[in-house]
């Protein structure tokens, strides 16, 4: 009987597929958030697996800050075209133009926080009652506390002190009008699991994840890639380095890491020996000790 054992990676895959199907069955109008990063790409892949040979029964939504790496957008558009699934794009710029979001100013200005406004507006406009996300518990200490089915009040807020119990795999998606859920099928995956799975499934990724030459500036220990949205201080300058992204987000706050890894195998090798966390290079997390928790309470992912 011992031959009936799933490897832990296949167990994680099965758990995620199970949750995706629960979402399709329990909610009226789900949407899957898609940023073009590796976790989103895995989520999308899992959704295609979950409903095969049918289509994915919900659309994808990208909250576009306008400050993306161009490689991400190209990749995103190609993936959607190839798979024939539906993508909705919501622009932070539209929220700024409407006056619901206000652009930050100063040298460290970022649109990362403004995403929350656009996201909540997008959910409301589309009358979505549930948003699927690729957040993982190993990313950050507030995320380590999140449920698979995370309940949000009518303002999209998370109440970490009062989460619903979540026992076994019996998920309770019941809610009142106006409330909604954030759902995280790959909660239990680690960065290593993600890379091993990408290798196992032979998934394609944006080129940013592999080593390439790029002009960067080093700011409070974080390497930021050159783009129009970052202004240099007098003391700073662009220097060319071999880098790759460990996470992909807004260009203004996603640090890149020095690396020569050009294949998945080399990346896995690197992940196995790294001494800093994946989000160690995220300026948005460094703003304060509870930066992530605070953003999540407001409705961020």
């Amino acid at each position: 009987m011992s031959s009936y054992n799933l490897t832990h990676l296949m167990e994680l895959e099965s758990e995620a597929i199970f949750i995706l199907r629960e979402v399709a069955a329990q909610f009226e109008k789900p949407v899957m958030l898609f940023s073009g990063g590796k976790d989103s790409i895995i989520m999308f892949h899992l959704a295609r697996k979950a409903f095969h040979p049918g289509k994915v029964p919900f659309p994808l939504m990208h909250v576009d800050t306008g400050h993306n790496f161009p490689e991400t957008i190209e990749f995103r558009d190609r993936l959607i075209k190839e798979t024939g699934e539906t993508l909705i794009v919501k622009y932070v710029q539209d929220s700024i133009d409407k006056g619901t979001a206000v652009e930050e100013i100063g040298i460290n200005a970022s649109r990362n926080g403004l995403q929350t406004v656009t996201l909540l507006e997008g959910l409301e406009q589309g009358k979505y009652d549930c948003a699927l996300g690729g957040a993982r518990r190993d990313e950050e200490k507030a995320r380590a506390k999140e449920r698979f089915f995370s309940h949000r009040d009518e303002f999209g807020q998370w109440d970490p002190k009062n989460q619903r119990p979540e026992i076994w795999n019996l998920f309770n998606g019941k809610k009142k009008m106006g409330e909604h859920f954030r759902i995280f099928p790959i909660s239990n995956w680690t960065e290593m699991d993600v890379w091993q799975y990408i290798l196992h499934e032979k998934l394609e990724l944006p080129s940013l994840y592999f080593s390439h030459k790029r002009d960067v500036v080093i700011r409070s220990g974080v390497l930021l890639g050159k783009c129009n949205y970052i202004q240099l201080k007098d003391s700073e300058q662009w220097v060319e380095k071999n880098v790759r992204c460990r996470t992909i987000g807004d260009m203004t706050c996603t640090g890149v890491t020095e690396s020569n890894a050009v294949t998945l195998e080399e990346i896995i090798e690197e992940v196995a020996t790294t001494k800093v966390t994946e989000r160690g290079g995220r300026a948005d997390d460094k703003r304060s000790e509870a930066a992530m928790e605070d953003r999540k309470k407001e409705g961020y992912f």
Binding site: F18, I167, E289
Partner: protein
Amino acid sequence: MSEKKGYLDMELLRFTTAGSVDDGKSTLIGRLLYDSKAIFEDQMELLEETSKQRGEEGVNLALLTDGLRSEREQGITIDVAYRYFATPKRKFIIADTPGHIQYTRNMVTGASTANLALLLVDARHGIIEQTKRHAFIASLLQIPHIAVCINKMDLVDYNQEEFDKIKSDFESFSSKLEIKDIHFIPISALNGDNVVDRSKNMDWYEGSTLMHLLENIHIGSDQNHVDCRFPIQFVVRPQSKEYPDYRGYAGRIEGGVFKPGDNVTVLPSGFTSKIKSIDTFDGMVEEAFSPMSVCMTLVDNIDISRGDMLVRENNKPKVEQDIDVMICWMNEKKMIPKGKYTIRHTSQTARCIVKEIKYKMDINTLHRMEDEKEIGLNDIGRITIRTTKPLFFDSYRRNRNTGSIILVDEATNETVAAGMVI
């Protein structure tokens, strides 16, 4: 290449912490990660900085899991934190749960999927009610292994007598529980004695360190591979040019092994058919077992929807409306006798009424209090419910997946109880 294979083949152990407030659970997890070099440099810098700001001596390792603002303010754990780490031998998923009685439901959340529980005891205080409550919950959840970590040995001069006394106290209590395998380890989470490294202060202890136990304890599969159970989650009907007539039943196998060609019975209708194919995105498979997520097609066209279950003709679950369950109550609002609740079980949702409260457990003595008919927050008791439609279930002991239920309050939508079918 061989290393890659190694990672994919690695065994997974899910464990949880348990025990009363301040007994050192979070500190122990911090110590375990620290001593096995599983803390990243930037995390460590943050810990050092935060500990200094808080005016603590040294680094407070509990802050590794106590990540919420209010947890840090109050110095206690409020909700489960999940941590992940791997050694060359195994991969671990840790649920660090709160000890405070007010947050017992979060302890149940963390413990419900664990194969092993680390039950902490403060060597100065010994076995107290909350220790017993958590041990009892662990046994109800059928967690097969319990490691009783007698902690803060540094505060009792690493004295063997203290350890022996607590050990025998626990044994006389646990003899009334159903726990397959119990280990006792004297530790100091604060100083690291017997956590990853063997203690130099307790020569009298000859057992293994906690890490050694975690890496070597035998973990069989907790899945049932005997009784075939396939609850339907979702019906896949592409109605596309490529698959005009495809009708697949998607779900996760919750027990047994299914193969194409097997005869199956559909519950509740009782119709029988044969499995035509077991499909996945990567192609058809020859067999599927729990906990695989698959999509099945049948040779006959019968009406099947979410909540139905495929089983074998000669091995059916119970199909009944009156169900006996042990429940842990998890809500401030007390259970209402004759009250109506929504019940969730596998992919089924029904309504139910609490028909009878048989008894409430006295956690200290494990006596059944048959005259106590009030079940409130953190109480454990046995009840009978009647559902609006038949459920297809096994006893929790036989199959966790088909023997577990939750009750949902119909006014607030909160999950108010976890139940194990007897």
